[in-house]
């Protein structure tokens, strides 16, 4: 095997550009989590949970004064998107029970995009090979952040507390305005949602619930209650007027 980028597995090559931004988010998690959770728990958390969204969610609750149960609830809710993603790749996953479990467990947001081959088909080996770079840079970034946290002290003094909301904003905007924000690769996946205003309505509703409940409930509760805004999805959407791309049933 030649040790050149061309000979590397597709997923590994495709995931290389993710290294820097993931490490940077890992550093910010380490910086913010260090003082709240302690150095070792912060690093272990990144190593075994391996999900920035869930970890930042749990930390947001803890940092705003909420309890452990609410933090766990917010963290798990933050990752419920993996349920439909797991079912989406399921038809492409072969092998016995243990193999299927392991292949599901290495799934990550960016890998889902890297492995998508259009029309609901997924290249599972590309998904698996996309994991190493993302995992190593995430845990490595967290270690660097935790080390930096002891040197920096109170993150609020440096404005670092705004990293939370901005990180989330960078996830929310592509979710709400796929056409405007998203890169070409992701567009195909969202094609079906194109005429869908629901994510925007749900996001505004959730924001309103959070603002309304914050003064009257214990910290952490508003976020979990606001997630219930998603229940408007129970109503079937109206049929779009023109149905061009049939068969991409998502």
């Amino acid at each position: 095997m030649r040790w050149t980028p061309e000979a590397w597995p597709e997923g590994l090559r495709a995931s290389m550009p993710l290294g820097l931004p993931i490490a940077a988010v890992g550093v910010s998690f380490g910086l913010l989590a260090g003082p709240v959770l302690g150095a070792i728990p912060s690093i272990v958390m990144s190593a075994v949970v391996w999900s920035g969204t869930a970890q930042f969610a749990a930390l947001t609750i803890l940092a705003s004064g909420g309890g452990t149960a609410l933090a766990a609830g917010a963290g798990l809710l933050a990752n419920t998107r993996f349920l439909p993603m797991g079912f989406a790749i399921a038809p492409s996953v072969r092998g016995g029970l243990v193999r299927r479990l392991l292949k599901g467990a290495v799934l990550a947001d960016a890998s889902f995009v890297i492995g998508h081959r259009g029309g609901g088909q997924f290249d599972i080996s590309a998904i698996a090979w996309a994991a190493p770079v993302q995992y190593v840079t995430w845990v490595g970034g967290t270690i660097a952040g935790v080390a930096g946290a002891t040197a920096i002290g109170d993150p609020g003094r440096w404005g670092l507390d705004v990293l939370f909301p901005i990180f989330y904003l960078s996830l929310l905007l592509p979710e709400l305005f796929p056409v405007h924000i998203q890169a070409a690769g992701r567009r195909a996946r969202r094609q079906a949602d194109r005429r869908n205003l629901r994510p925007i309505i749900v996001a505004l509703l959730a924001a309103a619930i959070t603002l309304a409940l914050t003064p009257v409930t214990p910290p952490g509760v508003p976020v979990v209650v606001a997630a219930a805004a998603a229940l408007i999805g129970l109503r079937a959407p109206r049929e779009p007027v023109t149905q061009r791309s049939a068969g991409d049933g998502a």
Partner: protein, 101 residues
Amino acid sequence: MKTWLLIAVLAVGTVLMKALGPVLAGGRQPPAPLTRVVALVAPALISALIVTGTFTQGQQLIIDARAVGVAVAAVALWFRVPAVFAMLIGVVVCAVLRFLA
């Protein structure tokens, strides 16, 4: 101790949610209403977390340097500045405002 419990719950829960589809479904889809609700949980939750991180301090609603930093970063993100740089811009704006205050 509670911290370790939190870590364990998040780790196990995350792996379960990722693997449930591949383990259970041999090509079968979950019921459509469930899929629609699950797809909307992310925007709802993320929006609530942004509001919490930007406008709240314990049980108080306040507008301070964070709101300005997040607003500037939002504009940057809208013009497709990569997330890492948007975070950097927000932090700098927020830190400068606090320094001036």
